[in-house]
């Protein structure tokens, strides 16, 4: 059947949701259509368990969002760099949060590759169809920098690698042309590293933060 119940369900849920919103906050959508003024750019993982607006109870319009495998910021990636250009250059968003999470499949694959281990033990209960990354694939290329981090710090556990990854991606963001230019032009812009713990549903500020003056020693 062309549209099995999943698709029909999503569309039906959307209609119901739209009605509830309009009833609760009449004119919400009309106002939304005037424009967006998000104050946060979220760079997170594609993982289905980390939907930024649900876990922060945010309405549409609050968080500008880029999600990819293992929340990466690669230097020469036009995809994320165009997001940064639009978010910082056009929307003048003042806060970028790079958000990693526990039990990240991308991190697990990179760790396993770096340790010459078969990743199977990480995915035995995860329902993944194939527990390995095909050689020569876009996914292998995509995970190469993260695998390099794992190789460079072999003593890190998988979860510690996840945290190191967040820090590395924050550094990637601050080295981007867009961010450097924004700071040169005295634009209000801070970059933060956060972690989402699947076990508790809690977001945690990792205390990694950079602003125009450099790394910020303390948060809040």
């Amino acid at each position: 059947m062309l549209h099995d119940h999943i698709i029909a369900q999503l569309l039906a849920q959307n209609k119901e949701w739209a009605q509830v919103v309009e009833n609760t906050d009449p004119g919400f959508f009309e106002r939304s259509a005037q424009g967006q003024e998000p104050k946060v750019l979220w760079i997170g993982c594609s993982d289905s368990r980390v939907p930024e607006s649900v876990i922060t109870a945010s309405m549409p319009g609050v968080i500008f969002t880029h999600r990819n495998i293992a929340n990466q910021c690669h230097h020469a990636d036009d995809n994320i760099n165009s997001v940064l250009e639009y978010a910082v250059g056009t929307l003048k968003i003042p806060h970028i949060v790079v958000v990693g999470h526990s039990k990240c499949g991308g991190v697990a694959h990179a760790w396993a590759t770096a340790h010459d281990e078969h990743p199977h033990r990480f995915f035995a209960n995860w329902g993944d169809l194939i527990p390995f990354v095909k050689a020569g694939s876009a996914l292998e290329r995509w995970l190469a920098p993260l695998t390099a981090i794992a190789r460079a710090q072999p003593d890190l556990s998988v979860e510690e690698l996840g945290i190191a990854n967040v820090r590395a991606q924050v550094l990637g963001v601050i080295k981007s042309k867009v961010v450097k230019k924004a700071w040169e032009e005295d634009q209000e812009l801070w970059i933060h590293g956060w972690e989402y713990d699947l076990a508790t549903g809690h977001l945690r500020d990792l205390g990694i933060a950079f602003g125009p003056e450099g790394e910020v020693a303390e948060t809040v």
Partner: protein
């Protein structure tokens, strides 16, 4: 101020949300730690007004997500291809939905750029390069900005269909579909464009 109330309120909202979930469904987070089995990959726009799980009232675990400027799938973009690969080959999603939206800033910029003759030199910024195919699409047909949003979704459906990931999945007999939707910001409503492609559709003109 470096750590202004916006971030503090996100973190506070999160704590409250987690407490509410824990109360309403005590085993939910533990279940999440066991793995993910989403049936849907959403390729949408980074636009803050189109958070997939909110507009579809979905739970964590339902939808695997890639959001970029103007919901693009470029054939040579490792970021999107890695997401598609992981979603289809590792997680076994059964539906890939490309979701464009009205009031898309990226599409509007391309529509505007298409009103002038093309520049002799190639774009030299990431955003310029990223939106070059969409600008070309805008030039091809004389269409308004909202028609471009729809044409864009159709083009991205074609791009996904043509990937080795999708072709390979179909060759293996996988029952996976590609759909094109438009989210209408003015109403908060998703609209299926009716351009779905599945296994066995062969040469599909979208």
């Amino acid at each position: 101020m470096f750590y202004d109330h916006v971030l503090a309120s996100l973190l506070a909202n999160n704590k409250q949300w987690a407490a509410d979930v824990q109360k309403a469904e005590p085993g939910f987070f533990e279940q999440c730690t066991k793995g993910q089995a989403p049936k849907v990959l959403w390729i949408g726009c980074a636009d803050s007004r189109v958070p997939e799980s909110v507009v579809t009232a979905s739970r964590p675990g339902d939808i695997f997500v890639h959001r970029n400027i103007a919901n693009q799938i470029h054939p040579d973009d490792d970021s999107a291809l890695a997401v598609l690969t992981y979603a289809v080959e590792h997680l076994g999603v059964t539906h890939v939905v490309i979701v464009g939206h009205t009031q898309c800033g990226g599409a509007a910029a391309c529509h505007a750029a298409a009103q002038s003759p093309p520049s002799p030199s190639a774009p030299d910024t990431p955003l310029g390069r990223w939106l070059a195919p969409l600008t070309d699409l805008a030039r091809e047909g004389k269409m308004g900005p909202e028609e471009l949003v729809e044409a864009n979704v159709r083009a991205q459906v074609r791009n996904v269909v043509e990937t080795a990931v999708m072709q390979g999945a179909w060759e293996k007999g996988r029952d996976v579909w590609v759909h094109g939707w438009v989210y209408e910001i003015e109403k908060g409503e998703l609209r299926d464009l009716g351009v779905s492609v599945g296994r066995g559709d062969g040469e599909v003109v979208v």
